[in-house]
C-alpha cells in the first residue's frame, strides 16, 4: 500500500523520473551538509590544538615542521609535575568516593516502587548538574573560608577532593542507574529461588552485571574532576595547582605558547581516551 501511496505523490513522481533515484522520504536538502560542517567545526579547535602541539616553530598558526620538542619540555617541567600529581590525586580520590556513593544511591533509587524521600534523594544527587558552576564555586569558597575562620579547620587538599566528589556524583550515578534499570529483575528472583540470601544475590548476580555501568560511571567522574577549572580555581588554596589551573596561569602570564599547547593536547587526548573507554565498557553486555 505504501508503494501505491508514494507513486500518487507528485514529489515522488518527480524524483522517480530521475533514472536510478529512489525516493528517500527522510532526506531534507542541505541538512547533511549542515550536520557534517557542524561536527567538523566542533572538532576543529581540538584538532588545531593537538596539531600545533607538534609544530616545530613557536607559531601557533603557521605550520613549519613536525617536532616533539614541546612535549619533551612539558614532561620535564617541575611545575607541571606538581600540578599533574595534584590533579591525579584529586581526581582519583573524588572518583572513588563519588562512585561508591553513586552506586549505593542508584541501588536505593531504582527498580522499586516510590518510597518516602526518594525524590529528595534524586533531586539532591542531581543538584550539581543544575546549579551553575560559578555559583557552586562561590558557595564552596565561602563555606571553606568560614570553616577556616570559625573552627580553624582546613582539610588541605581534602577540600578540593570533597568538593569534586559532590559534582562527580551525578556523572557516576546516571550510567549506573541506566545499567540497573536495564537489568532483568527476574535474575535476582532466580537467585533467591536458588537459596541465595539478598546479600549473596547482590554479590554474585547484581554486582557482576552492574560492573560495566560502574566502570563507565567512574571513567566519566574521573574526567569531570580531571578537567574542572571554574570550581577548582575559586576553592584551591596556595600550592594546590591542578593542570587546568596551571594552563590558566600560563595563559594569563605569557599567553598561548607551544608548551601550553602541548600540555593541553595531552589533556585533550586523555579526556578522549577515558570517554571512549567509558562508552565501550558501558556497552558490553
Amino acid at each position: 500500500m505504501a508503494e501505491q501511496a508514494l507513486s500518487a505523490s507528485p514529489a515522488a513522481d518527480r524524483a522517480s523520473r530521475r533514472p536510478g533515484r529512489r525516493f528517500d522520504l527522510k532526506r531534507q536538502p542541505g541538512f547533511g551538509a549542515v550536520a557534517v560542517t557542524c561536527i567538523a567545526v566542533l572538532y576543529a579547535p581540538i584538532l588545531i590544538v593537538v596539531g600545533f602541539a607538534f609544530n616545530e616553530s613557536r607559531s601557533v598558526t603557521r605550520w613549519s615542521s613536525f617536532s616533539l620538542e614541546w612535549f619533551e619540555k612539558v614532561l620535564a617541567n617541575d611545575d607541571i609535575h606538581n600540578a599533574a600529581k595534584n590533579t591525579l590525586l584529586i581526581a582519583s580520590c573524588a572518583t572513588i568516593i563519588a562512585t561508591i556513593i553513586a552506586t549505593a544511591a542508584a541501588l536505593a533509587t531504582t527498580r522499586s516502587r516510590a518510597w518516602r524521600g526518594q525524590t529528595t534523594v534524586y533531586t539532591l544527587i542531581n543538584l550539581p548538574l543544575v546549579v551553575p558552576e560559578i555559583v557552586t564555586a562561590v558557595a564552596t569558597a565561602s563555606f571553606f573560608g568560614l570553616l577556616a575562620v570559625l573552627a580553624g579547620i582546613s582539610l588541605g587538599i581534602g577540600n578540593l577532593i570533597l568538593t569534586h566528589s559532590v559534582f562527580c556524583i551525578p556523572f557516576a550515578y546516571l550510567p549506573i542507574r541506566a545499567r540497573l534499570e536495564d537489568m532483568d529483575l527476574t535474575l535476582e528472583q532466580a537467585a533467591a529461588d536458588l537459596y541465595a540470601t539478598p546479600w549473596q544475590a547482590f554479590r554474585r548476580v547484581t554486582l557482576p552485571l552492574l560492573t560495566p555501568g560502574i566502570s563507565s560511571g567512574a571513567a566519566l567522574a574521573f574526567i569531570i574532576s580531571f578537567d574542572d577549572f571554574t570550581i577548582t580555581q575559586l576553592v584551591a588554596g596556595a600550592g594546590q595547582t591542578t593542570l587546568p589551573l596551571y594552563i590558566w596561569g600560563q595563559l594569563h602570564k605569557v599567553g598561548v605558547t607551544p608548551e601550553v599547547n602541548a600540555i593541553s593536547a595531552i589533556l585533550l587526548v586523555i579526556s578522549i581516551l577515558f570517554v571512549t573507554l567509558s562508552f565501550l565498557v558501558g556497552r558490553r553486555r
Binding site: D184, T186, A190, A191, D193, L194, A196, R204
Partner: protein, 358 residues
C-alpha cells in the same frame, strides 16, 4: 494408599494495590497437591495461576491464608528458605555465568562440597541431554537449550516441589510437543512434585495427573484431565477446554439416570444432570461437537464445512435458525462425509449433553 500432601494452600487471597485500584488476584483459594504428582494450574491470563505459583515459591506474601509445604507453614518465609525451585518463563539464566556455573549455583549457595557439586552438575547435564555443553554461556544457546539449562539448574537442588511458570510458551510448536513428553517422563523418573502453570489446554490435558482450571482468582474445577474434559461443571470450564456447543433447553422430566430435555432447534435428548431436576426449568447444556453423530435426514442443513485434517467441522443450521457445531472424522480417503446443503439429522447418545451449574 493416598500419597502424602506436598503442597497445601488454605484459603489464600492476594490483593495488589489499595483502594479503588486494588486488584484481587486470588480469592480464597484452597487446594491440596499430592507428592509425586504432575499438577497443572490452567487458565487465561489474569486468572491468578501465576500469582498462586509465586506465593508458593515465596516471591509474594499472601494477603490472607496459609501455605504449607509438607505440613510446615511457609507463607512467611522468603524464597531462599523454601525447599522449592522455579523454572521461569523467561528462563532467567545468569548471563555472566556458564551453563555449569548456572546449574551449580543453588548448590553453592547451600555450601555443598565442591566434589559433590561437580558430580551433580554432570548428572544434570546428562538428565537434560546437554552433556558437554557445560562451558557455554546462555547467550550462545538456542531457546530450547536455555530451557533445559533452566530445568537442570532447578532440579540440581533435588527440591521437594518444582514450580514451572509457562516454561514452554517461548518455544515453537514441534519443540514444545517434544518437551511435553520429556517433562512428563522427567517427572515420572525423578518422582518430584511438578506444579505446572499454562494457558494452553492441550498442554494441560496431555501432561497432567490433575488440573485446576482457574478464572478470576478462583479455582473453577479441579480434577483429572478426563474428568475436566468430559464432565465440566460450569460454562467457563466447558468453554475454555475444547470446543463446546451451548444449547438452551427446558427440562421435560427425569428418565432414569438422565434428564429428558427439549432443546432449541427441536432436538430432544437425554442429558446428564447436575444437582436437582425440576420439570420446566430452563437450563444450559454443554454438548461437545465430536459427541454428535451426523446422519442423512431432515432436521437441519449443513451450512458450512471446515476441513481440519483428521476431521471436518460442520456447522449445522436447524429449523429455528439456531446453529450447532458437529465434528466428524473424515472417510479413509480424507473426504468429508457431508457437504454444504446436505440435509442431516443429529444423533446424540444419552448423557453426552451435560447440564451446567450457573
Amino acid at each position: 494408599m493416598v500419597d502424602a500432601v506436598a503442597v497445601e494452600a488454605r484459603n489464600v487471597s492476594k490483593v495488589f494495590g489499595t483502594g479503588a485500584d486494588a486488584v484481587r488476584a486470588l480469592d480464597g483459594v484452597s487446594v491440596t497437591i499430592r507428592e509425586n504428582e504432575f499438577f497443572t494450574l490452567l487458565g487465561p491470563s489474569g486468572c491468578g495461576k501465576t500469582t498462586l505459583l509465586r506465593l508458593i515459591a515465596g516471591f509474594e506474601l499472601p494477603t490472607a491464608g496459609e501455605i504449607l509445604l509438607e505440613g510446615e507453614h511457609v507463607e512467611h518465609l522468603p524464597p531462599y528458605q523454601r525447599p522449592v525451585n522455579t523454572v521461569f518463563q523467561s528462563y532467567a539464566l545468569f548471563p555472566h555465568m556458564t551453563v555449569a556455573q548456572n546449574i551449580a549455583f543453588g548448590l553453592e549457595m547451600r555450601n555443598v562440597p565442591r566434589t559433590d557439586i561437580d558430580g551433580t552438575v554432570t548428572e544434570m547435564l546428562g538428565l537434560v541431554k546437554m552433556t558437554g555443553l557445560g562451558g557455554r554461556r546462555p547467550a550462545q544457546l538456542s531457546g530450547g537449550q536455555q530451557q533445559r539449562v533452566a530445568l537442570a539448574r532447578a532440579l540440581a537442588n533435588h527440591p521437594k516441589v518444582l514450580l514451572l511458570d509457562e516454561p514452554l510458551s517461548a518455544l515453537d510448536l514441534k519443540l514444545r510437543q517434544g518437551m511435553r513428553t520429556e517433562l512428563k517422563a522427567l517427572q515420572k523418573r525423578t518422582g518430584i512434585t511438578f506444579i505446572f502453570v499454562t494457558h494452553d489446554q492441550e498442554e494441560a490435558l496431555t501432561m497432567s495427573d490433575r488440573i485446576a482450571v482457574m478464572s478470576q482468582g478462583k479455582i473453577q474445577q479441579l480434577g483429572a484431565p478426563l474428568e475436566i474434559y468430559e464432565r465440566p461443571v460450569n460454562r467457563f470450564v466447558a468453554d475454555f477446554i475444547g470446543d463446546t456447543n451451548f444449547v438452551a433447553a427446558t427440562i421435560d422430566g427425569q428418565a432414569g439416570d438422565y434428564v429428558r430435555c427439549r432443546c432449541e432447534g427441536g432436538i430432544d435428548l437425554l442429558a446428564s444432570p447436575i444437582g436437582g431436576v425440576t420439570s420446566g426449568a430452563k437450563v444450559t447444556l454443554a454438548l461437545r461437537p465430536e459427541k454428535i453423530q451426523l446422519k442423512s435426514g431432515a432436521l437441519g442443513t449443513v451450512a458450512q464445512t471446515v476441513y481440519v485434517g483428521t476431521d471436518t467441522n460442520y456447522e449445522v443450521r436447524l429449523g429455528d435458525g439456531s446453529r450447532i457445531n458437529v465434528r466428524q472424522q473424515n472417510a479413509a480417503d480424507g473426504q468429508a462425509q457431508f457437504t454444504v446443503g446436505d440435509g442431516v439429522l443429529l444423533e446424540v447418545p444419552a448423557g453426552a449433553a451435560r447440564m451446567l451449574q450457573d
